[in-house]
Symmetry: C2
Subunit: 191 residues, 2 copies
Amino acid sequence: MTGAGRPANSGPRAAARNRTALIAAAREVYSEHGLDAPLSAIARRAGVGQGVLYRHFPDRAAVATAVLEENVRQIEQAAAEDTDLAGVLGVLTWHLTESAAFISILHADGAGSGSAAPAYVPALSRRVERALRGHLPEGHRLAAEPDDLMIAVGMVSGAVTGPTREHRERRAQAAWRLLGVEVGPVRPYGG
Amino acid sequence: MTGAGRPANSGPRAAARNRTALIAAAREVYSEHGLDAPLSAIARRAGVGQGVLYRHFPDRAAVATAVLEENVRQIEQAAAEDTDLAGVLGVLTWHLTESAAFISILHADGAGSGSAAPAYVPALSRRVERALRGHLPEGHRLAAEPDDLMIAVGMVSGAVTGPTREHRERRAQAAWRLLGVEVGPVRPYGG
């Protein structure tokens, strides 16, 4: 009821803000309820109407893709700033423990029995690898064979199960310890 | 057309033989085509009619459960005979590379975001753990913390992706190498 014009929360700036809020809300809702959570729960968490959600994301898959894209972007940002591998691995590990869905993108060469990964997934996986590899010191445990780095990431993602975030983070830490790889604070980029 | 009596391939002995053939066929078909493969393909591979398949397994889930059960049984048999952990891990690794479905049972405490593991899965996972733990020497790399053994198994299962069995086996071997754990020949029990 703010008059006959466009509602207060529109315009390009509001649109970008809504999109960011929707992605953050989707990550939280997925983390708590899995990828099958209703889109209405995401809109509600973001504090926008469902119409706004559908304006940004035509369907369920588009929301999930946006979250994965944003996860990868945060790892790239951490890699652009942090100077050591441990710091970047900490951000990667945070995303692993936050979202089971994210894990699937680290199995990008998968095409494994029965797994039907969407087409954009290998590209995201390569971006994660590039972000990490830029910080991999010569002589590092994971630098011996070309595949070792991403095999190790797949291994940690395989360990990250459990009912709560704390449980999953503990298992991720144990996995890095078993690999003999140091990992920095487990936190979101900028968090 | 062997007369008016029961067909040649019936009777309790034939039933047991058919069941064994169906489980072996299902494992192969799942390995090649994933869990969504049609039941008709499994019956065909086993050389029995679909009616025979349905007499043993009321539905799709029953077939998958029987394969998982049989996988675990083979690991238990290897553990009962082999005297070292490496030998049992070789059989475990064979099942990992053979069947992506098997991997999910090793994430039994999962209940992770979005994963809905059937109720029998934790029991199977505990049987795998028991079979391995009986061969874990004191002072072994994976004996330091109570969870380390099955975290390591989860880690290897996380690395086992790829389009072919050979590809998946290479990645599994790399994963055990990164963990510093020796693994015996990757082969089925008795194979």
